[in-house]
Symmetry: D2
Subunit: 349 residues, 4 copies
């Protein structure tokens, strides 16, 4: 395909939505032609987000598939759980391409969705149609499709950090323990005591131990890669910062593999994929080293005393963990280079 | 001029230098062909800045005008005070265009430089040659010149916030009081107790009251605009954050001007200049609303009880306050649109 | 008086309330016998504040003057604006001593309260009865009284920083400009977009310029000290930290006074008052230097070029700006040493 | 014993030293009579720590056992690794009681010290004499002794979180994985790029994976408790905050134990020990809930799917992880109640 695309964003007043606006502003072949918010339709988007003053002077549109179809070719959904399940069928039926950043189409099992999300799942037919857009792993399957389900933030950091080792049999999947940490923007813009400044500043806390809705997404994919059911221990923590996720992952090594072997394995696995960077021996990445960019950086430590490997994987949760990878999937859907419009240098410091 | 330019950066291992690298990476007509550091020459730049892994794989060059001339057309200096004073003559003599981000060529008076910087000033001939690149005010004078002195971070936020009012006689220049606040990155990358994490986190402190070296730069320009000598009260504070400057400025209003009048005046003064955004009535900008971008946002509050106006001006100290405005000056020097390669949407949140 | 006192706290689930609990836990002559919250009555206080686990195992009481009278001798009100105006009469009538930390009894003029607080003011008779408890200035008048109105956080830092100079005629009161900055805890525990972590972290913003309800409180007191009406320019800013207020204050010096003169004047004015510390020449205090303590630290810079003095005053807004000064007032009411149970060393770092 | 004690602090200009000063200021039976710093002897301590203005007006003493003996009964060493190894013998020989907060006397094996600390170990005789002061576990052995080695910050949080489970055989010690996170104050006051504000703010990073010098301390103690050699996987991370440690610990459950069983086990194990608080079912502690206090709070999550328990343990690294536990050991040495002078309510928020 050759022509440019017009993009609509449902959920433009959330952090994922405004990040899409920021990133797409410099995309050479995509243009945001409609910013949509059911809750604030009719208001100027810059009113709630003054950083967009004079950058986007348009008003927020309401959610209306026919209207969207008149303005756009592709729709991104950056909506709370449960919304996309209801909206996506009408958008696809209207002939729009759809990239869903929410979790509504990630789990292939409706029962699993019900159990972990506590919401009514989407129709199985649409779930089956959704391609899981973990770009560096399943990207080839995205080319040309109409509907992509964009991976969650924790699963992106975690799966990119584990898949090559699981795939190659370097680690025992039954021993995987994932200790994940996230900046607060992952919780969205809704105000609550749990995201109140004075409660989080100078504080570090764990939450949803063994109960996070990203667990079945991680396990579904690891099971697919391993060829057998994988269950994991998965913990999430809130870091007093805005952006960034680190997954620190532990597993027992199968066979005799040094850190150098992991580095070589991962470099080979991700060869040609610009957004995964494998760190050299003895170095693990910090979250700030990918801030504002679409990179996922990975490093390793092997401990001969315990026979375990520690894998550290970092992303910017709003970019590679949401809006950035969604644009990467847009590029893949359109048959473009996956890096198009996405080669941001991390903002440091 | 039409051709693209090759850029060298002296001081590439400072925060100003890496910010130039970040911003120039997406500039359509400039390419960084040499990253230079006298202290780390020969080392890969990504070693000290892992966020540049696989983005810049080149080694740091030494400071050598002849070598630079072979690799570049334009040189940015992002160096500590006192370095540019010595280097610039040889760079200009080698036929290079020069943009100095340090303070060495901002003050027209060598005595003033000596008094405030406590260093040996540059030769008067070169000082005289330097054009002060406060782009929205003196930008026309930059077109086609070979040597620009880029304004300081505090002066940029402060002067853009004061000049229209001083120029139009809306405020009494003798009453100006400037209460400025900055993120910590303005202090550079050199480790010291004053920039130690545990000392600054959850802390707010004033420093260099009436003694900051940006005072004479502000007063020199305000005096030029006012047509008579202006002295100001200027205070600086450290905010526990990395980027961002706010100048809160106070002055007695001359005549009868409401906030609406200030807004109208400033919108007219900055008409056509995309990087200054004037906020509507009752709204003042926050630093995060320009984070990572080249914007300077300004808002007003007028108090009839006291007859004073409060002007709030914010920038990202590393972008509009350093690397961004320097690129804006490059654009102006080359006769390009001043916004070329600089239209970054602020990163929010 | 000799006996110990039993203390009840209305508004125990706000930040001011829990800070009272923290500070009073080590007071030798006061014991908190009832924690009260109209919104959470019946629940264990530690449920909403797990840091109090096993420290306070009691349940929250409802607001009931008769019940309180049975359990306590003194009541602190740490309630939102408008609540104390209604409650205080019944508490006083029940024979309780009252210390109101809210703003309901600070302004002597009911019209002024209505204008700035946009709420119905208290009865004039009770307003007249309230003694304004700025301890280091009006502390002698607190001895033995039954009802104290505790000063606001900004007024405490600001007034302690200005009163000696105004009182001695060192500065021209008509030139006073106050640029104040506060940590976020001053906004209380109620969740809102304005106190959402991701919005405030790595951000610095101004708010309520010339409109803060602490302005009439400051001006009422300065007018009292100056013996004539004083109006001021007063700006407030939010700092990305939890605790701490800095007031940076500017005024034109009357007569010929160096910084040393201000230091000498303030040391004399506050002689014998342990909670005000005057810094030596060339030094101004940072907020962290009083964190968690009841100190107000003050420093000076005099600029001969402009004839102005810059006064920097810092407090912990929850201690000297609220709970700490309230306990200081309790001590004064009871005829005890004002430092009793309050000599906390600031927590550093 | 009945009389009060006089205390000297070697290393008073480090964060551990000033925290001892803060905590001991309200201790009813101990008085700091000498603050000692080899690097700053002769200077007022408040010069480098203005928060101590008018609180401590004394000058720093030099390190001189004879001088110390004249001024004090007990010495705390809050010194960098390698210093106490040399100093302690002369202090003990002078008849002083000693509490060493550094790591020099924690490891019973000199070889292990050499391997992990890369320094020359202390004499074996003195190592043998040192009692490891993990108060809630080995506290009975501290009563009446002259020389205590105070546990490290990470080991305190980790061991208190693991020992009851290991001791009771609830978990398989060979499966223990410890993912620890610390605020930056643990790195001390020495300025370096690694603790530079702009590098750490809005950043989360791992460091010293499998290489931290606290690993052998943890393993030595767990081996002692388990009665057989235990090796662990131990990771450390830096959190952008000043104080607080969280250890998130993972292990495979032996037998059939629910979270309730762990809670009951730990409550029984720590019965009567006021500084360990076990959280109820479904709740894990956050670091801010112990900020500034001597508490160690512990919570549990059990995952039936994986058969693993997740244990979360938090402390304030400068209090329970250093100065606070050291004072607790002082109390135990003197035969006093271990909580004497230590019952600080956490500062929240």
């Amino acid at each position: 395909m050759n022509e440019n695309v017009r993009v609509a964003i449902i959920g433009s007043t959330g952090y994922g939505g405004v990040e899409l606006i920021r990133l797409l502003a410099s995309h050479p072949r995509a243009e945001v032609t409609s910013v949509i918010s059911s809750s604030s339709a009719g208001a100027p988007i810059a009113e709630g987000y003054p950083h967009l003053t004079e950058i986007r002077t348009d008003l927020l549109d309401d959610v209306d598939p026919a209207l969207i179809k008149g303005k756009a070719d592709v729709v991104f959904l950056a909506t709370p759980a449960g919304v996309a399940a209801k909206l996506v069928p009408s958008l696809l039926d209207a002939g729009l391409k759809v990239i869903d950043i929410s979790g509504d189409f990630r789990l292939k099992s409706r029962d699993s969705y019900k159990e972990w999300y506590k919401k009514e799942p989407a129709d199985q037919a649409y779930i089956d149609q959704a391609v899981y857009g973990l770009a560096e792993v399943y990207g080839n399957g995205v080319n040309g499709v109409d509907f992509v389900s964009n991976p969650g933030c924790y699963p992106t950091a975690t799966l990119l950090g584990l898949i090559p080792a699981v795939s190659a049999g370097f680690i025992d999947p039954s021993t995987i323990i994932i200790d994940a940490k996230s900046g607060v923007s992952g919780a969205g813009r809704g105000a609550s005591l749990g995201t109140h400044y004075s409660e989080l500043n100078e504080n570090f806390k764990a939450y949803k131990l063994n109960q996070h809705q990203h667990i079945p997404e991680i396990e579904q994919t690891l099971s697919d890669i391993a060829g057998r059911p994988v269950v994991t221990t998965f913990s999430t923590h809130l870091v007093p910062m805005t952006r960034g996720i680190m997954s620190t992952m532990y597993a027992t090594i199968q066979g005799d593999h040094a850190a150098e072997d992991f580095i070589a394995l991962y470099r080979q696995y991700y060869e040609g994929r610009k957004f995964v960077r494998i760190r050299p021996l003895g170095v693990t990445p910090a979250t700030k080293e990918v801030w504002g960019s679409n990179y996922c950086d990975i490093g390793f430590a092997v401990d001969k005393r315990t026979g375990r490997v520690t894998i550290v994987s970092v992303i910017d949760n709003l970019v590679k963990g949401a809006a950035g990878q969604a644009i990467q999937n847009l590029n893949l859907m359109m048959g473009w280079d996956e890096t198009l419009g996405l080669q941001f240098v991390p903002a440091y410091p």
